[in-house]
Amino acid sequence: MLVEQILVVLYLAACIGIGVYASRKVLTSRDEYWVAGRRIGAAVNTMAIMASLASGGSIIGVMGYAYSQGIPATFALFAGAVVGFPLASILVARQLRNFGRYTITDFLAFRFPSPVVRVLVPSLIVIAFTAYIIAQLKAAGITANALLGIPYDTALVVATLVFVTYVSIGGMIAITWTDVVQGVLMLFVVVGTALVVIWRAGSPFALIAQATEVAPELGGLANPEIGSAVGYFIIWATAIPVIPHIVMRVFTARDGRSAQLSLNFAMLAYSVMILAAVLAIVPLGKIAFPDLADADRVFLRVIQSEFPAVIRGIAVAAVLAAVMSTTDALLLACSSAIAHDLLGDLLRRKASDKTLAAIRVASAWVIGILALYWALSPPELLTRFYTAGIGLLSAGLFVPTIAGLWWKRANRAGGLASLVAGAGTYVLALGGVVDFGLPPIVVALSASALAMAAGGLLGAPESPEMREQIAALHADAP
């Protein structure tokens, strides 16, 4: 246990050190703080995007889900996000990078100018992402408690203090550097473990054949009802092109092409990691530990039984890295929704650069402390709550963003109608008020698209100047 604890302390200290170092550059510059000066290259952005998406759930959760629900259902769950990245790279990456602001709210408020957009969009982001941060903190607490023997509450407080410190003072630059370290660590641990397991077994197919002989349910669907799998797939595929912590990564890229490449390379790395985990580590876990009461422990049991203490310590750091690399990106996006989207215009007219920097730091701490408070006694059904939050973002933002970039007849009336109809219908469908026998996200996206079409066809056409500005976003960077 001591070796594991020392390695984790070293890792946390390195994260703080990166934040302190980055703070020298970023605290008084909006460009540096929110989008790392827009000069992140494709290789670094690839690893940072991969780490931002790969949460604690991508290491602990994916293997636990495959162990209990079968491999096909697990792939369906994660393939949605993977498909979302190519969609994002084709539909929004070049255009939003050419737009050259800071957040998805900036684009929607420019395309469909209205106070409703300036208030509703960041409010949806804060609600959805706070729930997401609480879930991640809970995962960090459980992991540290199980692997390091640290009490849940202590682990939560330490993890929160560390990541809020480096996010609040180091901004996007600190997040990018720590995410690169965290991404490399995750890939090394998961893919490395899978390669060792495959090398010992001969091939992944031999492993799967052996595992499905012991437990045939591993290759099937525990729940033959496919509706929820379709719903999750669509939620993630449509969320990725508009989800704020990924869109902010697009704004950090050097140019549109670099953004497109890094999104796809990131997903390739992410896919390799998920496939390695599910096709190698889970089958071995099922063979060696067929009756685990807590399926989420399968990765840790395999690591504990197959590897020495140093590797176990690195694995613990990798799990914490997965949690923190997502949480820090969520925290910055949430903080930008408050300090930039909600208060930005008002403050920039009256406040000095120093005051603005203090407000950026303060907003990160307020969200971090609130999330910590709720994570100390997390609400029931938190996972479903935050997945619903991501669904809400997707239902509200996907159609206005895509139509705003691609449909020439998209106008202010259509944009506002589709934003409100998408988010509103999703809440009603999720609550069972509206029920068409379809996943809520399908109903909400359809309502949002209909509202956009009605507004665009019946409302006043957009000005030629706006059309020209949108056409310019589609051009290649010089």
Binding site: P86, I208, A237, L268, W406
Partner: protein, 70 residues
């Protein structure tokens, strides 16, 4: 505005990639894929795994082909 001018133009390769990804994903969810088993696992699972690799590789290939030539 003419019918064909309702949308900003998308590059041909990107359009094809989008269609391929959507058709592949929709076909993967077809009931037949959930009734056939290959090497101990439902075909649905193998198709989803293939989609996870195909989608970024296909889009990277499209971008590589469309890269600016100096």
């Amino acid at each position: 505005m003419a019918r064909g001018e309702n949308f900003f133009p998308m590059r041909r390769g990107e359009k094809i990639a989008l269609v391929v990804l959507i058709v592949f994903a929709a076909a993967s969810f077809h009931p037949i894929a959930r009734s056939v088993e290959v090497a101990g696992m439902l075909l649905f699972g193998w198709l989803m795994a293939a989609l996870m690799l195909l989608s970024p590789l296909l889009t990277l290939w499209v971008f590589w082909r469309g890269r600016p030539r100096n």
